[in-house]
Symmetry: C2
Subunit: 307 residues, 2 copies
Amino acid sequence: MNAVAAARLTGLDWGSTSLRAYLIGADGEVLAERSAASAALGASTLSGADAFAAALAQIRGDWDAQLPLLACGMVGARHGWLEAPYAPCPAGAGELAAKTVQVPGGPRIVPGLICETGGVPDVMRGEETQILGALQRHPELADAACIVLPGTHSKWARVEDGRVTGFATHMTGELYALLRRQSVLARLMPEDDPAAPAAFEAGVDAARDGGDAGLAHQLFAVRTLGLTEQRAAAELPDYLSGLLIGHELLAGLLRPIDGRLAIVAEPALGARYARALARFGVANPLLLGNTAVAGLVCVAREMGWIE
Amino acid sequence: MNAVAAARLTGLDWGSTSLRAYLIGADGEVLAERSAASAALGASTLSGADAFAAALAQIRGDWDAQLPLLACGMVGARHGWLEAPYAPCPAGAGELAAKTVQVPGGPRIVPGLICETGGVPDVMRGEETQILGALQRHPELADAACIVLPGTHSKWARVEDGRVTGFATHMTGELYALLRRQSVLARLMPEDDPAAPAAFEAGVDAARDGGDAGLAHQLFAVRTLGLTEQRAAAELPDYLSGLLIGHELLAGLLRPIDGRLAIVAEPALGARYARALARFGVANPLLLGNTAVAGLVCVAREMGWIE
């Protein structure tokens, strides 16, 4: 029997602009893996059940179509294949498995999470599965941890006893993209994004030490430092990045962290956050790559689909 | 002698996307006024001395071309008609008049202001003239005041003894425009901008009471309040506006204000800021419209051009 024939489950990490498929064995091991080559198979591009079904058939290719399917991410959003209503915090693998939703002729979908702070809701979809994966790979995180998932909409989640107790979203990546390319700040910047580590750290430090002057004020320094030639054009993108990430850390670290801080991100972005955290005196965060498949395995196990 | 024949000076309020011309008499009175009908005569659209000269000729029309010309605003920026280097703070009418720059065959240009806080520069260009105008119209402000000029790049200036001692820029208006139209927050909003005063105040209050959670975090509530239908789509633009203006106030009011707070803005925007200030316990700010021409008169007087 070859590896693929031993498969028990197909896992789908289906984001707004990405789709990854995993063939998973009886012990939760990954037997094979495929990524969509373009964003055209992402959940925010597709519209209607037929389009999702066709995208699934395309990425699955010659894999066994009879295997159970488990998906996480924006595929379960209101404009995804089928809406999987958010599970309320606190929630762990058990609560998430219990609220999965079955698409007729399609995958079972892991719900996102919702929490509320001072009457204001916050949501995540896809990151809950990555968090489960992080806990599975590093069981010492389950007792108490802060798990940071940087990105377009960064998430800071608090974990206690294996469950997410609450979290906060920061629009850091989206603000960077808008300000970097479409604001007055873009005018003094080069086309490319040269690495400027000292400027990045200066931006982080400015947020750390002077953040109460307001993000909307400190952002203007990207322009004035360029205008007055105190910073070269090539330094401005990373100074902007440092300011934005610094403000995220200022808010995220406001409440003391119980247990360890872990970062779940592709390596370059994880390293960037680790450098910023060091400026705030937080040393040696645990750096993890994409943990979505490990999280899908957790949920599948919870449902009894695999051992 | 008719009014126009009594003119002693032509004043130009020449911003990035606007151009206004004033015919000014011997006592500083405005005898006639003209506005460019389109942004095509704005300083950021024009390129090269010939284009500026043609725009000047167009707005001046049949007015006496022999009159002295005094201009303020982005016309004096690096990519304007001729760069008028920033005057350092503290500065009042005397310092600004001393640093005006003469365009050959064109106007004399009032410089902008530069200040520095913790090693980081800040700049304004055009607002310094509006501040002089505010002091001229309300001399009680000259002793000590905080003058707020809301807009794309809002300015908060502190005045002592008739001079601007320092100021801070907040990119509030630009952030609103980017987030309102081009971010994920725009997706749940209607095309138009319906007035939603209660939602605006809720946004201001959220910033006031929970601002330490970070602007980039609180912005995401515009999405989640819409997603969870706690706020109607029509309320979201004003909730966003309230959040952004609230964060500006949080930073601007951090240092206690000596003297009175004045707002220089077109009436609807001034009233919006006054409503937000009331939520912060600052009652009855002085509301002023465009004071640029009064400021040009101050500088012209300082130079001995008029009485």
